[in-house]
């Protein structure tokens, strides 16, 4: 098979772009931080629908004058939906009711769509659990890939995942998008998806290396990337198709979720080509690394 795209020719530039994006993300995360959603920050959220558009400025002032000084008021989806977020007040769980009845009293009569209250302790716990879950996921995947492939692939895969996760987190930090539990869920799904890609590419690299062709590693990797390119593009495309359907038609409550996934698919596709292969090149993958054919490969061949 001929090599149509010489991916590895640009690996240095790609590496620089990755490092640049990664650094910016880390910087933004450490200085700006994430704008944590209710699930992690704790506090109260009230969503009200009005029949006619209301002036958010007046609502803001009303809230401020009545003891809810630390509150955000925004439109949610349409200009008839108003979302009010109030920072935690010593774990007081009735802030939502108070806000809604205050607004009703001041003449803003609308339908209460949802109230969410998360206590400060629960928020902190979810933060810890979320972070821990992410690390556990990365570690377990590292172990699995090391077991099924080889440690160089595992390092490549986990670097790619870390790269994807940090850059998406960075984007959420830079643009101050709300980071809530559904976005965390999306991020874990991205780990799964991006890995999917990585494994398909790694699998082909392994296969070609084992065929022991007289070829430079760089050529070998380029060949593998070209062979899997069709599949990578088609899968990314179908996944992006449904994700855009979700982003556009799925409603305001899962916008953040679908956004994180869309970014994840884009970054994940890029990283499975450039980050993984780049790592393998840097770690100098040799044919000896993969010399012994694994017996389970033969077993699986018979199954389907």
């Amino acid at each position: 098979m001929d090599i149509r795209f010489q991916f590895m020719k640009y690996r240095k530039i790609a590496g620089l772009i990755s490092i640049f994006l990664f650094t910016i993300s880390v910087l933004s995360l450490s200085f700006r931080g994430l704008s944590l959603g209710l699930d992690f920050s704790g506090g109260t959220l009230v969503e009200v629908t009005y029949e006619t558009p209301v002036d958010l400025e007046i609502i803001r002032d009303t809230l401020k004058d009545n003891g809810f000084e630390d509150s955000q008021v925004i439109n949610f989806g349409t200009n008839l939906d108003v979302l009010i977020k109030v920072a935690d007040q010593n774990g007081n769980s009735s802030v939502g009711d108070s806000v809604y009845s205050l607004l009703t009293e001041k003449g803003f009569i609308g339908e209460l769509k949802r109230v969410e209250f998360v206590g400060p302790q629960v928020g902190a716990e979810l933060r810890d659990q979320g972070g821990l879950g992410m690390l556990v996921a990365l570690f377990m995947i590292l172990m699995y890939v090391a077991f099924r492939f080889q440690y160089k692939f595992a390092l490549g895969a986990v670097t790619a995942l870390g790269h994807d996760v940090v850059i998406i987190l960075g984007l959420f930090s830079i643009f101050a998008w709300d980071f809530d539990l559904t976005v965390l869920a999306a991020l874990l799904a991205v780990i799964g998806y991006s890995l999917n890609d990585t494994i398909v590419v790694s699998d082909r690299i392994r296969e070609n290396f084992r065929l022991q062709r007289e070829m430079e590693p760089q050529m070998m990797i380029d060949l593998s990337l070209n062979q899997t390119l069709g599949r990578t593009v088609v899968t990314s495309l179908t996944t992006l198709l449904v994700l855009f359907a979700l982003f556009i038609f799925g409603g305001e409550m899962i916008k953040g979720f679908s956004l994180a996934l869309i970014l994840g698919v884009l970054v994940g596709t890029y990283s499975s080509i450039y980050v993984v292969a780049n790592m393998l090149m840097s770690l100098i993958l040799t044919q000896e690394d993969l010399a012994i054919p694994e017996p389970e490969g033969a077993d699986f061949d018979e199954l389907p």
Partner: protein, 618 residues
Amino acid sequence: MNKFSITQYLLILTVLVFGFIYALPNLFPTQPSIQVAYTDSGKSADQVLLNDLNKLLSTNQVEYEDISIRDNKIVIKFPNLEAQLASKTILQKALLDKVIVALNLEPTTPTWLKDIGGKPVKLGLDLSGGVHFLLEVDIETAQQGRLELLLDNYRKTFKEDRLKITSSSINDLKLNFKFNDRESYNKALSKYRLDSPGVNGLQYIITERPSSNTLSLEYSDVALREIRDYAVGQNLTTLRNRVNELGVSEPIVQRQGSNRIVVQLPGVQDPTAAKKIIGKTANLEFRLEANSRTSPLRKEEFNFKENDYSTAFLEKAVVVSGDRVTNASTGFDESGLSQVNITLDMQGGRAMQKATSGNIGRRLAVLFVEQKNKSELVINKNGNKVIEQTSYIEKNIISLATIQAVLGTSFRITGVGSPQEASELALLLRAGALAAPMKFVEERTVGPSLGKENIELGMRSIMIGLALVVIFMTFYYRIFGLAANISLLINLVLITGIMSLLGATLTLPGIAGIVLTVGMAVDANVLIFARIREELKEKDPQTAIKDGFSRAFITIFDANITTLIAALILYVIGTGPVKGFAITLSIGILTSMFTAIICTRAMVNLIYGNKNIKELKI
């Protein structure tokens, strides 16, 4: 080449039929219904109640389709929402507090489907609308209460044994006794050691300070765990009773973690009212009225609940607290006056017997303990006005009655006023018992309209996403694409069937998980097809198909296992909606492997198997 045996086809067909049957209940619409249960949770609905209801509905000329007994409840089905609402009012007016009437939407699953366990997918609160509460049980207060009881008991025992106590106190959840001399100190120490062994290990951690003749005692981890389990368990029971009062058709009340309780009330329209009833942080205490011999240090003054101006002095020691009450009902005494009959558990009965045996003729008070919140506008350090909420405990006497005889596990309180007041007292005694106070740590309310909107939006995204993928696949892979598309549809049916069968909850992120699965499920087929295309360059079509499938299998397997790992972790760390996402994603991964590899292969085999193909269009 590329033929499955009849058995293989049959096996695949069996799985498909199975999945289809269990997905079927989701196609039937729901029907408005009413569930009627006796207020007394010990009583299950019977033929008598059924006949009563039947008569009531017939006399009021309400149209209904079916009435039957199911799981201690009577279920009445209606042709429309108007009949349902009208009947609720009629039944409530006629039967008052005797029964709880709950509105529900009953699935119209046919009986044969129900008999084999078929049921529609359970909807999460974000789709059905309703309230989710997470309550935290305050274990420290429970512990403090226990310590106070312990302090009192030891003070009595030590006094009886003539030990000389200088002082006693409770500090930082530690019980401290200081003695006059070494002899008393030693005796007390051996008493502690004698008392400490429990069923699961030592109950006390004793700190000895012989130099100052001081002993302190705190609960061991074993004892703390017991206290916690007891408090959470008791609160769980109480919450279930309270939730039953609300008349919600399918509530969930569950322990979560060590000291939290989840309450989910699907379809509740008025969350504020629900919160009020659930959050009623009431408890009861039975205490003896203080008499002339009670030391001033050992008594407290309380107001009567009904009358702010009269007060009474009660002993500080609690005889029995409300969590020991197992039942309370109203009745009439010999002279036709209302009374409340109370039943205590064994431990409560013993304590009551001990306390009353020497005290006939004295009065016993029922004290109502309520945790209340006070909101105040205060000025914070930035000079802004903020609302500050402080909680405080209010205790009021709800009954003060003379002890006529030694009391045990069951006794009665007479002179409780009107029948109305008696039944209120009984209700408070029954449902008002919390072993420890609780506070709300999380609350999520979803209005019914938002739930409906979420379902519509979710379904629309699935449909649009599906359509886009199907069009793309057909265009790109032709016949193979069609096979993949059929597999995709089968996959959706299987996900629905498995979720319905397992009773897994579908949430909004869960729908997103399905959408994502639609996108990713074709990946396996894309991998296979891409591989077949490649193999075609060197091999004949039949071999290419065979090798394409088998070569791609390992890759698909590895790729899916890792996603499954991520989904499992998500399930463990996530709450409610996110758990829903993890569930659909995991199920989707497993079913998509089956459909994409096996079903697609079966179709490809059916089309191309054993045929002489010159050119394969893929």
